[in-house]
Amino acid sequence: MLKRLFIFFTLILVAAIFSDVALNYSEHTELSRLAQHYASKGPEELGAANLVTSVVVTYRGLDTLGEVTVLFISAAGVGLMLRRRKHPDTVVPARKPASELVETAARLLMPMVFVFGVYVFANGHLTPGGGFQGGAIIASGVLLLLLAMPQAQLSHRLIGFTESLSGFSYVVVGVLGIVLAGGFLDNRILPLGSFGSLFSAGAIPIIYVFVGLKVGSELSAVVDRFRSDESKPEL
């Protein structure tokens, strides 16, 4: 009872802080100076039509590298904690296979989902989207596959290879920025191209393709790990 009282008071106090924030909030009418610089100089400096992308990939590119690292560590942690036992002590009854309708629809949709994911991360510098979103779409395609065909085996070698190759290439592109342009992860190692076309904005599309492949393979590995043990009895 005392505990509930404390929780209640904690929430009341937090709510008091929040109400102060909400009541004294006034909408901005103009951008901050930093954002003004990004909005007015960003398109000329980096050639990316999507300003969020230019912030994520180049101006704050180091943060994004750290973010990809965090995602990698969490995928590795999930893999470590949910590693499959050799002799599961509980026997889960085999699941009924999905109906033919579901399987056929999944087979039909899978390539389209993948192509859409690639489209989203390859156009990240032009339209809303980018590496993380495209990677999540690819992983959702893998999730669809695993739901429709629980017996399906993902090639862990392929996932691991894609993941490490794209992570390595991301860092290589970043280091090339130090050698060929202004600094780490500078996108001007390649010509900026004509503004608004697919091959523009220097290295941004290349970095986003690597990020998309990396995120897609990591999330696929995470989704695969959350499957129940029964789908892989031989391990």
């Binding site: 509930r4 929780i7 904690t10 929430l11 937090v14 709510a15 929040f18 924030v21 909400a22 909030y25 909408e27 901005h28 009418t29 103009e30 951008l31 901050s32 930093l34 954002a35 003004q36 990004y38 909005a39 007015s40 960003g42 398109p43 000329e44 039509a49 999507n50 300003l51 969020v52 230019s54 912030v55 994520v56 704050r60 943060d63 994004t64 973010e67 965090v70 995602l71 560590i73 969490s74 995928a75 942690g77 999930v78 904690m81 949910l82 032009l126 339209t127 809303p128 980018g130 993380f132 503004f195 608004g196 995120v215 999330l219 995470v222 790990r225 959350f226």
Partner: protein
């Protein structure tokens, strides 16, 4: 335009979500519900950040025929909070995945998802 500016609603909803999520984290006994509470806090923080980045009458920070380069500084919303939220969503997903795998392991060990059954590290 009448009434409160639109970002005030987003901000208040975000703050309310944070409160609901905190309540869930503190009051619920089921680990899965606590993780849901954490996700609510996460989403609430994203909404607050997006609301703070909004500029009156602004549009998405993407340069195209509707927003020419010379108008960009006056017509778009702040791209920095959007970029931060993009980062935060991915980090939140990673953290949630790790928490859920802890929950799976706890269930394997104890055959229960109640936090009351995890009393070893209680002081």
């Amino acid at each position: 335009m009448t009434g409160l500016p639109v970002s005030t609603y987003v901000l208040s909803t975000g703050l309310a979500l944070i409160l609901i999520g905190l309540w869930g984290l503190l009051m619920q006994k089921n680990i899965i519900r606590m993780i849901i509470g954490f996700s609510l806090v996460d989403t609430g923080i994203h909404m607050v950040m997006i609301a703070i980045g909004y500029v009156t009458g602004g549009t998405a920070p993407i340069i195209d025929s509707a927003v020419p380069i010379k108008d960009a500084a006056t017509r778009v919303v702040d791209p920095v909070p959007s970029a931060l939220v993009l980062t935060a969503i991915v980090i939140g997903l990673g953290v949630t995945a790790v928490m859920l795998s802890y929950a799976v392991n706890i269930y394997r060990e104890k055959k229960s998802l109640s936090i009351d059954d995890c009393s070893e590290s209680k002081w």
